[in-house]
Symmetry: C2
Subunit: 352 residues, 2 copies
C-alpha cells in the first residue's frame, strides 16, 4: 500500500477556485477505489492570502508547501490588488524562489482534432509539438538591485553559470526523451547575461552529442513560433523571454484554456498550474473552462506520482468530452464549468 | 530651389549592399528631373567597418552621420564577426545612442492584396494596421553596470522618467494622427522599470483626453498580436520588449522582406532601415528582396524631406510590381534583386 500523498492546494483568485474545484472533483473520481490515496491541504496564497492575512505568501503557507508531495495552483492576481505593497504576483515569485522551482515546462501541442482553433493557417500549424523550458528563479525577475523612485527605476538581469547549467541540463535531458532537438534562446548579440547563456548552452551541448542544437535570438524565435512552429522540439529560455514566448506559443494553439504546466526544482515538490491567468472578468459566473485545471491534475498524477494510467484515463475523457463539443463558451460550447466537469467524469466512467 | 540634401548611406553586411543599391537606384530614378537634389555619402559601418578599420562605428562615421539630413541603413551583422570584441551590433547600439534616436517606429500593415502571405487565418488578420513605437536608446540595451565573467553575468534595465516621457509623447502624438488608440506595454506586475513605464504612461495619457489608452503586459501582448491583431493602433514599448514584439508583429504580415522602419530623435537626422536582418545565407546570390529597402527610401522621402508625392510614386510602383508577381523567390517569384528593381522603375515610368 502506497503512503498517503499530501497535495497542497492553492485555490487562487478570479476563476481560480471554480476551476480548482473541477480539478479536485476529477482527481477524487479517478482515484476512487485505486490504491492511490491522498489528502489535500488548502492554504491561503496570492490575492486570497492578502485578503485573509495581509500578505500574498504567509509563512505557514510556504512551510506547509515545502512538506507537500505536490502542489496544485490555479491562477492568481487581479486588478483588485494592484495598489497593494506586495501583490499576488510577488507571492508567486517568492513561492517559486523558496521552493527552488527553477524549471518551468510548458507544452505547446496542436492536436489535429483542434487545429481549427488555432489562429494560424492549418498547413503552418499542423503537427506542432514542442515544449518551452523556462528558467524560473533567476534573471530579470529576481536580480538585485531593483529600485524605483519618482524619477527613475532599475531592474537587474543576473545569471550565474550554475543557474544556467542546471536549466540547460533539464532541457537537454527532456529533449532526450523527445525528438532530441534543443533550441537555446537568448539575445546574445546584445545582453551579457545572454552571452553567458549561450556559452553555457554550448558547453552543456557537448555532453549530449546525440541532441541536435541550434541557437536562436529571442526576436527571431518570436518570429519562428508564428512562421514555422513545427521546427521546434525543446526551447530553453531565460526567465523573462520564456514568459513572453510561452504565452505567444500557447496562443498559436488557440486553446489557452486547456494547457497545463509544471514547475520543478532539484528536490522537493513540483508545482502544477494552468498557463492562463485568473480571468477576473468572468469570475463567479460558473463559465470558466475547467479543462486546463483537469489536465493540470493529470499532469501531476503522471509526473509526481507515476500514475500514468490514471493520467491517461483523465486525458482520454477530456479528449472525448471535447470531441463531443461538451465545452464552455470560450471553446464555442454552451456548458458551464460544472457541466463540463461532469461530462469528463461521465466519460471516465464509460472508459472503465 | 531646395538645398541639396545630404544622405548618409550605410551599405551594411550580408545582403545589405545588394538591396541598398536597389534602393538608391530607385531614389535616383524617382527624383530625376525634380527639384529634390541630394548627395550620398557612403561610410563604413557595422561588419564592413570592422573589416576596413577594425571597429564597427568609426569616429569619422559618427561625425559625418551627425551632419546628415537623413541616414539610410540596410542591415548589419553576421556570424563572421561573432568572435569580435566589438560586434556590428555594438556599432548599431552606439549609433542609435550617439544620434539620440530614441523612437523606433515599425509599421505592421496587412494589405488585402497580400493577406495570403500571412501565416494567420484571413479572418483574424484582415485589416491589421498598427505601429510599434519602441524606445531605442535606454532600457536593458544600455543600462549599466553590465558585466560577464566565466561564472556570472549582469545586465541592467534602467529607465529615467524623462526617457519614458519623451517616447510616450512620441507615441501619443502619433496616435493622434491615426486611430487615437494607444496600448502601453510593460511587465509592471514584476519589473520596477515597467512600473515606472506604466505610471508615466498614465501621466502622459492625461494630456491626451481624446486618445483611448489601454495597458497591457508584454506576455499578454505577445498573445494578442497573434490572436487579435486588428485591435491595435499604436503600441508603446520599452526597448527589449519592442525588439521581440516588433519581430513577432512583422511576421504576422508574412512580408518581412517588405517592411521599412524609422528611428527618430528630438533633433538631428532620422535613420531609415528595413526591419529584417542581413541574411548572410543568401548574400551575394542576387536574389535578396529589394522591396524593404525601396520602401525604406520612400519612407525617408516622406518623413525627412516632405516629398510625399515622390514617396507615393514609389509605393504605387511597388504595389503594381507585387500585384504583377514580379518578385523574388522569398515572395514566390523567380526574379532577381536587379530585375525586381527594374520592374519597380518601369512601373514608376508608366505612372508618369
Ligand atoms: C503572474 C506573473 C508574475 C507570471 C510571470 O510573469 O511569471 C505569469 O505571467 C506566468 O507566466 O506565470
Ligand atoms: C541587431 C540587433 C542589435 C537589433 C536589436 O536588437 O535592436 C535588431 O534585432 C533590431 O531589432 O533592430
Amino acid at each position: 500500500m502506497m503512503a498517503r500523498q499530501k497535495i497542497v492546494v492553492f485555490e487562487g483568485d478570479g476563476i481560480g477556485p471554480e476551476i480548482m474545484a473541477a480539478g479536485l472533483d476529477v482527481l477524487a473520481a479517478v482515484t476512487q477505489g485505486t490504491d492511490f490515496t491522498y489528502e489535500t491541504e488548502f492554504l491561503p496564497f496570492g490575492g486570497q492570502a492578502i485578503d485573509q492575512v495581509g500578505e500574498p505568501l504567509p509563512n505557514n503557507t510556504i512551510n506547509q508547501a515545502k512538506r507537500a508531495d505536490a502542489i496544485l495552483l490555479s491562477a492568481i492576481g487581479g486588478p483588485k490588488w494592484n495598489a497593494c505593497p506586495k501583490r499576488p504576483e510577488d507571492g508567486l515569485l517568492a513561492l517559486r524562489s523558496e521552493l527552488g522551482l527553477f524549471a518551468n515546462v510548458r507544452p505547446t501541442v496542436v492536436a489535429d482534432s483542434q487545429i481549427d482553433q488555432s489562429p494560424l493557417k492549418t498547413e503552418i500549424v499542423r503537427g506542432t509539438d514542442f515544449v518551452i523550458v523556462r528558467e524560473l528563479t533567476s534573471g530579470a525577475y529576481f536580480g538585485e538591485p531593483r529600485s524605483k523612485t519618482f524619477d527613475q527605476a532599475i531592474d537587474t538581469m543576473y545569471y550565474s553559470r550554475s543557474e544556467i547549467e542546471r536549466i540547460m541540463v533539464y532541457g537537454f535531458d527532456l529533449a532526450q526523451s523527445r525528438r532530441q532537438h534543443v533550441t537555446v534562446v537568448d539575445k546574445s548579440n546584445v545582453l551579457a547575461t545572454s552571452k553567458l547563456w549561450r556559452e553555457v548552452g554550448q558547453a552543456v551541448a557537448q555532453r549530449y552529442p546525440e541532441v541536435m542544437v541550434d541557437y536562436r535570438y529571442v526576436d527571431a524565435t518570436a518570429m519562428a513560433i508564428v512562421a514555422d512552429p513545427t521546427q521546434f522540439d525543446v526551447l530553453i529560455t531565460p526567465n523573462l523571454f520564456g514568459d513572453i514566448l510561452s504565452d505567444e506559443a500557447a496562443q498559436i494553439t488557440g486553446t489557452i484554456g486547456q494547457i497545463p504546466s509544471l514547475s520543478a526544482g532539484a528536490t522537493g515538490p513540483k508545482m502544477y498550474e494552468p498557463i492562463h491567468g485568473s480571468a477576473p472578468d468572468i469570475a463567479g459566473q460558473g463559465i470558466a473552462n475547467p479543462i486546463s485545471m483537469i489536465k493540470t491534475v493529470s499532469l501531476m498524477l503522471s509526473q509526481s506520482f507515476h500514475q500514468e494510467k490514471l493520467a491517461k484515463q483523465i486525458d482520454e475523457a477530456v479528449e472525448l468530452t471535447i470531441r463531443r463539443g461538451q465545452v464552455t463558451p470560450d471553446m464555442g460550447g454552451t456548458l458551464t464549468t460544472k457541466e463540463v466537469t461532469e461530462q469528463v467524469m461521465n466519460a471516465m466512467q464509460e472508459g472503465v
